[in-house]
């Protein structure tokens, strides 16, 4: 990726971060922490890596994304609206009765959502199925999945991990949002995942680890993963829960936060560099 491309994506990530803070702030409560930590990876996937068409969200040959940590839905909705999958004003109906944008990703309600998630631990299995289906049908496309680190405690992930390696699913590229936090505290204190890389290599996955807020580094990892044959890839993203959102970053209780319009505006001002 050249410098201009990196700049473009970083700028887009900043816009999406701002939008997400604004949209959740409009309601006054939401999963801000886990949205902020995946902004870079979702931005890269949707504005560079993936082949998708907002005008034809269900076209058969396309890349697919399973946001298994479904509570980060609002971040993805901001991207989907910006890309034209649905009108921008839908964003401000987040969680309002009758909305098409619920807290957790819902493929029946939202154009551009490839899999319903929200019950943690189910998404990777679904991604395996999508990857198998794509291969059977000779569709030269990738399936991407994003799981949380707390979510990785669900045993189903490891069942899916075994299946993906067994079936040599090199069209499956997964990410772990390794933000080191879950609801009840720091992941290392609740249920340690150490050592996370050796777990995935132990399951025979091609495993990479990069700074999850470094656009160029994530892109490089994705390109390397695409080049691997015969094995699924896991890209572990070292991230910060609440990243870039002044009132949330580094705060242990940032999972599902209540915040005011003033807090949202202040965080947005800082991101815009208006001080």
């Amino acid at each position: 990726m050249d410098q201009n491309e990196i700049k473009r994506l970083e700028e887009k990530a900043r816009e999406i971060r701002i939008k997400t803070i604004d949209v959740i702030g409009n309601l006054g409560v939401g999963h801000i922490g886990g949205c902020m930590s995946v902004i870079e990876v979702l931005t890269l996937l949707h504005y560079k890596t993936m082949d998708t068409d907002p005008k034809n969200p269900n076209k058969e040959v396309r890349d697919k994304l399973v946001l298994s940590k479904g509570h980060a839905g609002p971040a993805l909705y901001c991207i989907l609206a910006d890309r034209g999958f649905f009108p921008e004003d839908w964003l401000y109906t987040l969680n309002v009765g009758g909305t098409r944008l619920p807290s957790h990703c819902d493929m029946k309600r939202t154009p551009g959502i490839d899999m319903t998630t929200g019950s943690l631990g189910q998404g990777l299995s679904a991604a395996v199925g999508l990857a198998l289906g794509g291969r059977i049908n000779n569709l030269d496309r990738h399936v991407f999945a994003v799981i949380g680190d707390g979510e990785s405690q669900e045993g189903q992930n490891w069942e899916a991990a075994m299946t993906a390696a067994h079936y040599n699913l090199d069209n499956l590229i997964a990410f772990t949002d390794y933000n080191k936090m879950q609801i009840d505290g720091y992941t290392k204190d609740i249920m340690s995942l150490d050592s996370i890389e050796s777990k995935w290599t132990g399951f025979n996955w091609h495993t990479l680890r990069v700074d999850g807020h470094d656009m160029a580094a994530i892109d490089d990892a994705v390109e390397r993963a695409k080049a691997v044959k015969g094995r699924p890839s896991m890209i572990i993203l070292d991230t910060i829960k609440g990243k870039g959102c002044s009132f949330a970053e580094g705060v242990l209780s940032n999972h599902n936060m209540v915040y005011s319009r003033e807090q949202a505006d202040e965080a947005i001002r800082l991101l815009k560099g208006e001080a």
């Binding site: 309601l27 009758g98 909305t99 619920p102 819902d106 019950s119 405690q153 609801i183």
Partner: protein, 313 residues
């Protein structure tokens, strides 16, 4: 001073009191300790509080092992996950094995609000009713919750407790006693009997009986805090006395409290019956008020159902 505690606080306080008296009492959680309201238990009894992370099946399996080791485990998660993600573990490692596992499902029905359809357990009662010998509780009142948790701890068998986390009612005076399997008559009446379970519907039912009174309809109201085993004697007594029964619940009526009452009445002495609850639908997001309106969980709708029901007598 009036007791204004949230039901989850009552739950935590009761477990702390029990744990003070009995070293066997312990808790197992799955990264929702903050939601269940048990961090206070953990700080007082750190060696008896286990958080297994986001892993409900594991949580119930571990609780079953603790029970086999002679402990009295209370395991908790959102009701959707406690029931659906750990059903086989609860069924087999817990119930089939004859172990005493106390499983708590929080955020029942529409109280899951912004977590939406993926998190909104409408089916847990129906699922749990199919587990042989299991006791199912859904208290809405603070004193009854405290007393029923105490009894649940020492019950010979497993228990599923549907726990509304926030808010709570104080319906009863000091002299009211509570017993697992015995419904409580909140109010006498002659024209029909409303049988409600859980905070959402009981709050509305209390209002509904007042409105009905003004309309000249006398409704008895029963707090059916135990859905299984159902208090057959009480249901039959009031069905006989009032000649019509309306069940109200925050979940699927088919298979739920409504299903239990329908089975009993059909098996014995049918009377006109209406079952207010979710009708074969999934959940969705919204505020509590929006969802109550959407599924008909309002005093107005209870009144309407009651009026239609008495016409069928």
């Amino acid at each position: 001073m009036a007791d204004t505690r949230d039901l989850r606080e009552v739950y935590k306080d009761t477990l702390c009191t029990l744990a003070e008296e009995d070293k066997k009492i312990c808790i197992v959680e799955a990264d929702l300790m903050n939601a269940t309201g048990t961090p206070g238990f953990k700080s007082r009894f750190p060696e008896r509080a286990f958080d297994v992370g986001v892993a409900e099946a594991n949580m119930v399996g571990v609780a079953s092992g603790l029970a086999a080791a002679g402990m009295i485990p209370f395991a908790a998660s959102f009701g959707c996950f406690a029931a659906r993600r750990a059903y086989d573990q609860f069924f087999l490692s817990g119930n089939y094995s004859g172990l005493k596992v106390k499983l708590v499902g929080t955020d029942p029905g529409v109280s899951a609000i912004y977590n939406g359809g993926t998190h909104m357990p409408f089916e847990d009662i129906a699922m749990m009713r199919a587990v042989p010998g299991l006791t199912i509780l859904e208290p809405c009142d603070r004193r009854s919750l405290e007393e029923l948790i105490r009894q649940a701890a020492y019950l010979e068998g497993s228990v599923y407790i549907r726990l509304h986390r926030k808010g709570g009612l104080s319906l009863y005076d000091e002299n009211t006693s509570f017993e697992i399997g015995k419904g409580v008559v909140v109010r006498e009446g002659t024209d029909l009997t409303i049988i409600a379970a859980g905070l959402v519907l009981m709050e509305e039912a209390v209002k509904a009986v007042e409105i009905l009174e003004q309309k000249g309809i006398s409704a008895a109201l029963i707090d059916m805090h135990t859905i299984k085993p159902l208090d057959n004697d009480l249901v039959l007594e009031y069905a006989g006395k009032t000649g019509a029964v309306l069940t109200c619940e925050n979940g699927q009526a088919a298979g739920g409290l409504g299903g239990a009452v329908a089975e009993l009445l059909c098996d014995t002495k049918p009377v006109p019956l209406s079952r207010l609850g979710v009708k074969d639908e999934f959940g969705q997001v919204g505020t509590l008020d929006y969802l109550k309106e959407a599924y008909g969980f309002t005093a107005e709708n209870i009144v309407k159902e009651a009026e239609n029901l008495v016409k069928r007598k």
